[in-house]
Amino acid sequence: MTFQTHTGNRGLVLEEKLIFEQGEPGRTGVDLPDPAPVKSRLGGLARAEDSAIGLPGLSEPQVVRHFTRLSQKNFGIDSGFFPLGSCTMKHNPRLNEKVARLPGIADLHPMQPESTVQGALELIDQCAHWLMVLTGMPAVAMSPASGAQGELCGMMAIRAALDARGENRRRVLVPESAHGTNPATAAACGFTVDSIPATEDGRVDLAAFEAKLGDDVAGIMLTNPNTCGLFERDVRKIADLVHAAGGYFYCDGANFNAIVGRVRPADLGIDAMHINLHKTFSTPHGGGGPGSGPVVFSEALAPFAPIPYVVKTEDGFHMVETADEKDGNKPFGRLKGFHGQMGMFVRALSYMKSHGADGLRQASGDAVLNANYLLARLKTKLSVAFPGYCMHEALFDDDFLKGTGVSTLDLAKAIIDEGFHPMTMYFPLVVHGALLIEPTETETKESIDQFCDAVLSLVAKAEAGDSEFFKNAPYLTPRRRLDETAAARKPILRWSPSNA
């Protein structure tokens, strides 16, 4: 039954104004003491008393209600099945949140004397040790803030290594299925990007790759398992070839979660790989960060790793913060203020210790099993992009929607009404109308079955010719389809009294 309510609220779906449209001058959500009168030492730059900053005044209960209502308009992993391919939305254990907030961790200042933070340095060292053993690599840079900065870290190390060799190699080979961050990162390091085509089975075209090699090639950026959810079965040949040509092998480790504890990247011949702690090791995505992207390095690239890094000495742990402190190392620079995403190291270490070597191996196996089960169930109706088993995510193209008048986007929006977060759409670009589905290991068989049943029923509905239904989905969300074109044409990027 549809009818208009007086408030615009609809039961538990509550309308919520912007914080700037609420509140009263003079109201506040904090009780602060009056400062003692002192002679100002602001050097004549005090902000005028009468110039308003423009912040609204709200009481604490108003603020709590505001953000609680906003939270109720969001879908998270805690809400339900969230098979967003390539993003690895697995359960975020609350233990990790708890330990990250321990006194002695949360209240540490980054510039405290080393003698007062030995436990913190030991924790970073332990986290680094787990990452090195799991990848089989001899070194790791912990400071990158995210996967994209991890890529930057790896590619800068390659650039520094080439510079140290006195070689002016500037061409980087990137498969066309790569994440958009790969070419953007290569460009930021002064490289040019040369795209490698894919084969019909979704892997790097080895012949095309080999033909592109030359003495101007700095290296390859390869995601493995790749963005089609497939293991690059020629990965060792690719490594050998790029090394023989004098280049380096950067591996985008965004999909490391499929192989952790089962395959060590070192055994595949890679020189550098970033690890998204927020994907593989379940530090929460937080609505778009913070992430953390440590980079493991081979012997060849290790000397060029950025500052700072932790070393263990006879006197305890030590943070190396300057470029020339240790003989033989030639750090390419510093990527971030202070020492990296400590809060994420704590959560990732807690996650790794909880799983252990046995549990991590089980987790990757279950992730791959869940994805292949979903693939097996959906391929009865959906068109599989590439033949064979997948890794941790299953990729479909939109061939199965041909003639229905329903697009991948329409189907995704209808899936929202069924109570699931949709899959990744239109990525990777090598597949038409891609649907990339990653269930992760923390889902039950029951939830995957429910999702598959729902998708199959929607496909049947599409085949029955009800395209109008799909064009207008979703129906049951706090907002329906949003006009993104209008948002971009005349951007409104902040609240102001004039656009209220």
Binding site: L55, V99, G119, G180, R236, Q341, E484
Partner: protein, 451 residues
């Protein structure tokens, strides 16, 4: 294992549906010999209690700022965080959400990002702000790259008052893009930053970067510098490390800054040994399309109701690939929520008052230290952080104070390890968390150590 729900029976029935004999069969594309048959050499899984105990042992080896009088700053500041902030950011709908790619079920994230952008634009007095960067230092580097794009020039002039980490990160980001980084070395007792840079600005200069308050805590009016930049077609970038300051001091926007960026940790985010933090980034309407990072914008839905979406994504890497304005993808979503919640609690009055208290605490601390033999406060002006010159090497003094249970300031030798001339200087920050007893303890301990 408590996070893994599949039973052996589940696994067997799923393998049957798939038509595979074992999980190892699913890894058939892995090259011969690379597929491990046994777990790697690391400890096996542990229960929640054991993990918590292990982690607590590591935490207990540290001396946290909550357990000692602490005057550490230099780009990260200890402030009181209202309990509401942590409660809100731990709500699963925020904590466990992804980047809002499906706006119909991410209006919560999108609306707070819009509010965050508005708050950042308001306190800096700029037209627009983005949905956050990784931290202050990377914001600074991205601002320089943005200025180079906007002006099509390749030279950046960095003030000596810029935080050394910010300078290093900027140099790292610029080193492979043929961008020349010029500037002067800073010194807490030499001329402040406002005028020293004029002669470095030329027709090739994309931007001048100043920090306000600067790394030594000093305050300068940068209005003339903005004019000097604009006269040569360069942009002025104003960087900050203490977001509380703008409740008490003139905004960077009022100087005529083109880009304002810095660290937002002070509002709502724990010290956490240096991260994760939240980079703030604001600019003028004119330059918005050159901005890095995500932007949330207002629009309407199919039923005409106001809603929010990520917008102007044609600047970004997933569309533009190697021609993107930046490679940034994941940013600091949850940290920006913490900022927004704390800022909402503060409001206009609370924000100003918090800033006033910070200044008062710093003035009181400076006055107390000025009375100690062997300590000289070198700043004429400051907000909540200032530099002192000590009669002994600062790093040794700091260690001696640790032995007395006090986390004094940051010795400049920690920030400038290669500068012999700065060995006796120390940065001292005071916030609303510092009590009169803390200040008295610091002064008394310094008196003892410097005697």
């Amino acid at each position: 294992m408590r996070y893994l729900p599949l039973t052996q029976a589940d696994r067997a029935s799923m393998l049957e549906t798939i038509g595979a004999g074992s999980v190892d069969d699913l890894y058939c594309d892995v090259p011969e010999g690379a597929l491990l048959k046994e777990p790697v050499d690391l400890p096996h899984h542990q229960g929640e209690m054991q993990v918590e105990r292990d982690m607590a042992k590591l935490a207990a080896k540290n001396m946290g700022t909550a357990s000692a009088p602490s005057f550490l700053g230099a780009g990260a500041y200890r402030h009181h965080i209202p309990a509401t902030v942590d409660y809100i950011i731990q709500r699963g709908e925020f904590l466990t959400a992804y980047t809002p790619y499906q706006p119909e079920i991410a209006q919560g994230t999108l609306q707070y990002l819009f509010e965050f952008q508005t708050q950042v634009a308001s306190i800096t007095d700029m037209d627009v702000a983005n949905a956050s960067m990784w931290d202050g230092a990377t914001s600074c580097a991205e601002a320089v790259l943005m200025a180079c794009r906007a002006t099509r020039r390749k030279k950046a002039v960095l003030s000596g008052g810029l935080h050394p980490h910010y300078r290093e990160v900027t140099e790292t980001y610029c080193q492979y893009s043929d961008t020349q980084v010029a500037g002067r070395d800073g010194h807490p007792e030499h001329q402040a930053t406002a005028d020293e840079l004029d002669d470095l600005i030329d027709d090739q200069t994309a931007c001048v970067v100043v920090q306000y308050p600067d790394v030594f805590g000093r305050l300068s009016d940068h209005t003339k510098l903005a004019e000097a930049c604009h006269a040569k077609g360069a942009l002025l970038i104003v960087v900050f490390t203490e977001a509380v300051a703008f409740g008490a001091i003139k905004s960077p926007g009022s100087f005529g800054a083109d880009i304002v960026c810095g660290e937002g940790q002070s509002i709502g985010n724990a010290l956490g040994y240096g991260g994760p933090y939240v980079g703030l980034f604001a600019t003028t309407s004119k330059l918005v399309r050159q901005m890095p990072g995500r932007l949330c914008g207002e629009t309407v839905d199919q039923d005409g109701k106001r809603g929010f979406v990520l917008t102007l994504s044609t600047r970004e890497q997933h569309i533009r690939r190697e021609k993107a304005t930046s490679n940034i993808c994941t940013n600091s979503g949850l940290c920006s929520l913490a900022f927004t919640v704390h800022m909402s609690l503060l409001g206009e009055d609370g924000y100003r008052k918090l800033a006033a208290i910070n200044h008062e605490r710093a003035v009181t601390t400076a006055d107390a230290l000025d009375g100690v033999a062997g300590v000289e406060v070198v700043n004429d002006s400051f907000f909540n952080e200032f530099t002192v010159k000590l009669a002994k090497p600062a790093a040794e003094v700091v260690e001696a104070l640790v032995a007395r249970g006090i986390l004094a300031g940051v010795p400049l030798s920690r920030l400038y390890p290669n500068r012999d001339d700065l060995g006796q200087y120390m940065l001292v920050a005071a916030t609303e968390t510092n009590t009169d007893e803390d200040i008295a303890a610091l002064a008394a301990a310094l008196k003892e150590v410097l005697a």
